[in-house]
Symmetry: C2
Subunit: 495 residues, 2 copies
């Protein structure tokens, strides 16, 4: 992989460096095809037809090249496609690449492009990836009864741990440790998430050669799952079914379980996502990931290191590269190529596409670990996926509801003033919707709100005590005075 | 597949119609994954994370979804990825989708997005897909000694044949035949290509279910190849190595040959490309495709029908859908689902990505035709691909050269005046470059030109007879008068 960070070269050149280094490490330099993971070169760098561009720049014109995309897990998706091509016998050796170039754009332009992966209606309210991640985090805090301070300590713990690890990784964007003080001094992006809770904007590429020949590391399991696009279609906010489905498949295929994993690289685009991932992967019980982190279980010297490379947080997050960079990091560690690292037998990589809408889990192990045979049926396992529910038809939303979760967004997309209050509201019919706050009062999960629709989006106001008294009075009036609606209206107006 | 043409629905809905109809045709409705071919939903319709969008809209949230892109062959690329996934045993049944939505944009906006797939330097000169296709066509005419009229008759023949076929296809965008007079009345887009030589701008989607179970049609061969991005890096202009490589692999895998194919759907984004494709696929010798067409060999009732569905020309060309729509058409014809169609055993689909930079060939056959066993090694065949040459380093271009091929572009991209003369020039060192003409004189292949560089692109002027005499005189003067350079300059100025 390239050194992640700000890279002045064109995207195709960054890809080529990773590809050339991977090819140079082979005894025979030929590969039969390229599988390229990249999220949005069209809008980030104006590059279309990227497969043909890269195959030509590598001097490999003639051989097949395919671009694969699953939002921010594109690197993992390319690995899966390359793996399936090899496993089918169609190719014997392929080069898998993942990369993205983003730092040349302004933060607001990058935020806008990144926000395109989320649901359109939620985007129209001003929601961004950090905003939705923040709302998930607030819900997590409430569901698992964490205090504000308790949550902050966990998030800070992830950031400090991953920066500590990144300081030991020469390929990381941030090769320096941070203190608790640094963390708490960093500004809010979207409450409760601070700048140090968010992976940075990064350029970089990673490369992996897959071969049907036996080598020192084997890909023993890989799985993919999808999840609802919008927050308002979710049954659960504090876990990602897409990861759970992917993990189930990967564990089954590798004939192992969470207990068989020695270490993992997970998609910590936001620090709370590392905690949720360790729960979705079955390492810790739901709600217990934070505790495990604070106890040091996931630190570099702990029993189950998580993101020993520094994770997306410190290594950087060139979108299409991240899912494949994880696999590079796991492979290096299994091979003992990381100085000072313990010996590991089996590692896992977990990659998240969008807001956990398209996730992957990959398991790699040293070839000298025994091959476990399951019932002679290595692939094609039936997944224990619930039968998918149909998208609900659009329905009329009532004009009152209560806050399911919320955030105050400070880094807003173009066209939205900062700070911006956003909340997921459950209306009286039990339907969820995303809405913008009309005033910036203190918000809390469970608060009663009034809803107002303007064009395609909703505004909410928190009901004050006064409003509640007014409403009781109104109801009282309606019951007692069977007056004409005109008179009633005039009474209500006085209220 | 959906009815191709102008479709007012959002892209995801168009995809869903194709997907739902494919699923409804199954006995059991479940598929294990989606493979989605689409070229540029980011820029055409502002849709990112399209895999997650489609899986949700189909009510299949949970199952894996992957987006595949190889420019305009994305539909075929998705089929290949789905095939490899099934062949690996990883899945037993997948839904492959291809689609694009384009008609809501202006022609100039669409042309700009489409032009992004071509080489950047050539695009800077004002080159578009039709411009480069036109230059290839002019070169073909010269190489195979066709007269202007001879070429026009061939191109007209393709357009008339494909519209005749399209008139019989209820899914085609243009369901009406055209006459020779219609053809010759249509305006030039880029000489020698007229409007009726170019596939239209279209919305649409296609769907295919692939399964490991035996059905009535089997995918017996599939191959992919890439070719140089720019015209100036090509060794040949009148054939597409990307098709030849893809065809070689597909024929080997299906254990058949061009002689074993009963009919084909080929990528006639421009009428001359149909002719070149039938040569690249080995149906006719190089330069003989036009003759075969004029003899009726490729017509609906001929021995080898080409584009019996109407091709991209009449069926329409929703970019990401086309490569998969071909497979739908071939399958329907093999199944006898096309009213009035003859019985066929084996059909071929050929799809082109970009300017033939990433091409696919797929062979389908009726399952009641015998399975030919090659040496027990159905996949993983070594391809007879020449060792790829490294991209030439950028070199200094001399200030004179000659025209390798050219076009006069009438439909120019934003920011370029019409008409625009474009030529591929071979300089005195044998290097090729794309250049814009400074004046609109009559151009011919082989003409001598002067070159002038301005910023990132070149301008050319055709040397007049006068210029040639002046140059001879200059040379004479230099030889005879060993005068000071100042005197010589004054003599030259007078000339």
């Amino acid at each position: 992989m390239t050194k992640f960070g700000k890279d002045p070269r064109p995207l195709v050149e960054i890809f080529c460096q990773a590809g050339q280094e991977a090819l140079a490490a082979l005894k025979e330099h030929d590969v039969e095809a390229l599988y390229i993971g990249v999220m949005n070169p069209e809008e980030f760098t104006g590059d279309s037809n990227i497969g043909s561009q890269i195959v030509e720049a590598l001097g490999l014109t003639g051989i097949p090249a395919v671009r694969i995309e699953t939002a921010s897990s594109a690197g993992a998706a390319a690995l899966q496609a390359g793996f399936q091509a090899i496993a089918s016998g169609y190719y014997r050796r392929v080069l898998v690449l993942g990369g993205e170039k983003m730092t040349h754009l302004s933060t607001s332009a990058t935020t806008r492009i990144l926000a395109e992966v989320i649901d359109k209606q939620e985007r129209q309210c001003g929601a961004t990836m950090p905003a939705l991640a923040a709302m998930i985090t607030e819900k997590y805090r409430q569901k698992f009864h964490l205090s504000q301070t308790g949550l902050e300590n966990v998030l800070c713990g992830v950031a400090v741990k991953n920066h500590f690890n990144g300081a030991r990784n020469p390929f990381a964007q941030f090769q320096r440790a941070i203190t608790r003080e640094n963390y708490f001094a960093s500004k809010f992006v979207a409450t409760p998430l601070r700048l140090y809770d968010c992976a940075p904007i990064t350029d970089g590429a990673a490369a992996v050669v897959l071969t049907s020949e036996k080598t020192d590391v084997r890909l023993s399991g890989i799985g993919q799952g999808t999840g609802p696009l919008s927050l308002r279609e979710r049954d659960t906010f504090t876990a990602f079914p897409a990861t759970q489905i992917a993990a189930t498949r990967a564990y089954q295929m590798a004939a192992t379980s969470p207990q068989g994993i020695d270490f993992a690289e997970v998609h910590d685009a936001f620090t709370p996502f590392e905690i949720i991932s360790t729960e979705d992967l079955g390492f810790f019980a739901p709600g217990k990931g934070g505790e495990a982190l604070l106890e040091g279980k996931t630190s570099l010297e702990g029993p189950l290191p998580i993101n020993p490379s520094g994770g997306l947080k410190a290594r950087g997050h060139p979108i299409g590269a991240s899912g494949l960079a994880q696999v590079v990091e796991v492979t290096k560690r299994l091979r003992g190529q990381i100085r000072g690292s313990r010996e590991f037998k089996r590692g896992l990589a977990q990659s998240t596409g969008g807001l956990a809408t398209n996730n992957f889990v990959t398991i790699l192990e040293r070839s000298d670990s025994p091959v476990v045979q399951n019932a002679g049926h290595l692939f094609a396992l039936k997944l224990p996926v619930e039968s998918p529910k149909k998208t609900k038809p659009s329905t009329v939303i009532s004009d009152e509801g209560q806050i399911e979760t919320f955030t105050i967004l400070y880094v807003t997309p173009d066209g939205f003033l900062s700070p911006l209050a956003l909340a997921l509201i459950r209306d009286q019919g039990g339907r969820l919707l995303m809405a913008q706050g009309e005033d910036s009062v203190q918000l809390k999960i469970g608060q009663q709100v009034c809803l107002r629709r303007i064009d395609n989006f909703y505004l909410f106001t928190v009901k004050s005590q006064l409003q509640k008294v007014q409403e009781s009075l109104k109801r009282l009036l309606r019951r007692r005075t069977p007056s004409s609606s005109k008179e009633q209206l005039s009474v209500e107006k006085k209220l």
